[in-house]
């Protein structure tokens, strides 16, 4: 299935759009989404270790706008948001 990942902060540089789409299996965990996204980044930007670091250190928010951890299993979500390391103020 296709999932839309909305991009924020430094992750906005991953695409000219404000999102990207990944093909993933159903019922996978956030940890597996992260691995899928890292593979996508490695294919698209093979020399960019910074982008991989961003994905490695990012959290994800589900479609209820709740930040979820690596063991969270996707059910009906069609959309996630990537939450890179934060630093407002």
């Amino acid at each position: 299935m296709k999932i839309k990942i909305e991009l924020f902060g430094a992750a906005r540089d991953f695409s000219e759009e404000d999102y990207l789409e990944l093909n993933i299996s159903e019922n996978i965990t956030i940890k597996e989404v992260r691995t899928n996204l890292m593979n996508y980044i490695q294919n698209k930007y093979p020399d960019n270790v910074n982008y991989l670091e961003i994905v490695k250190n990012s959290a994800f928010a589900n479609d209820q706008d709740v930040i979820v951890q690596d063991n969270y299993k996707l059910s009906k979500e069609k959309k996630l948001c990537i939450i890179p390391p934060v630093g407002g103020g």
Binding site: G9, A10, N57, A61, I83, P85, G87, G88
Partner: protein
């Protein structure tokens, strides 16, 4: 009482008057404003402005959670909290955040204000992209919000 909002700088600006009016109360003997502004240097670079990116709904939810935690941790009496954070481009001197608090005593407002800004920096989904003289830009490194 609580107010927390993301302000889109292309449409409006953060208003200190609005904050002042919100926190006015005859029950409170102390009020305090924390104002964050864009400064002209960082990491030995000349900064010309900052673009703030935010996940608006999580930010506003986070402001409320942090405020509730601050009130219960500090046991502030008659607390009033007003938080606004900018989204979009701000030039040097632009106001990025206002945390205006009022409570019964001065110690409570100092503690509330400090608690709130430190927690926002640690866990609220806001990001900064600095702009420099040579038209380069950099997303600043931040604090991961994932469990490791």
């Amino acid at each position: 009482m609580f107010h927390g909002k993301v302000i889109d700088t292309s449409k409006e600006t953060i208003s200190l008057d609005k904050a002042q009016k919100f926190i006015e109360s005859q029950q409170c003997g102390a009020s305090l404003f924390f104002i964050g502004t864009v400064r002209n240097h960082n990491n030995n670079k000349q900064v010309t402005g900052i673009t703030y990116d935010t996940h608006d709904s999580i930010v506003e939810k986070s402001f409320k959670e942090i405020s509730d935690e601050a009130i219960s941790t500090i046991t502030a009496e008659h607390p009033i909290i007003f938080i606004e954070h900018a989204k979009g481009y701000l030039p040097l001197g632009g106001i990025s955040i206002v945390i205006a608090v009022a409570a019964k005593h001065r110690g409570q407002v100092y503690d509330l204000s400090r608690f709130i800004i430190e927690e926002i920096k640690k866990r609220t989904p806001i990001w900064k992209k600095e702009h420099y003289n040579n038209e380069e830009t950099t997303w600043l490194e931040g604090t991961p919000v994932i469990d490791k």
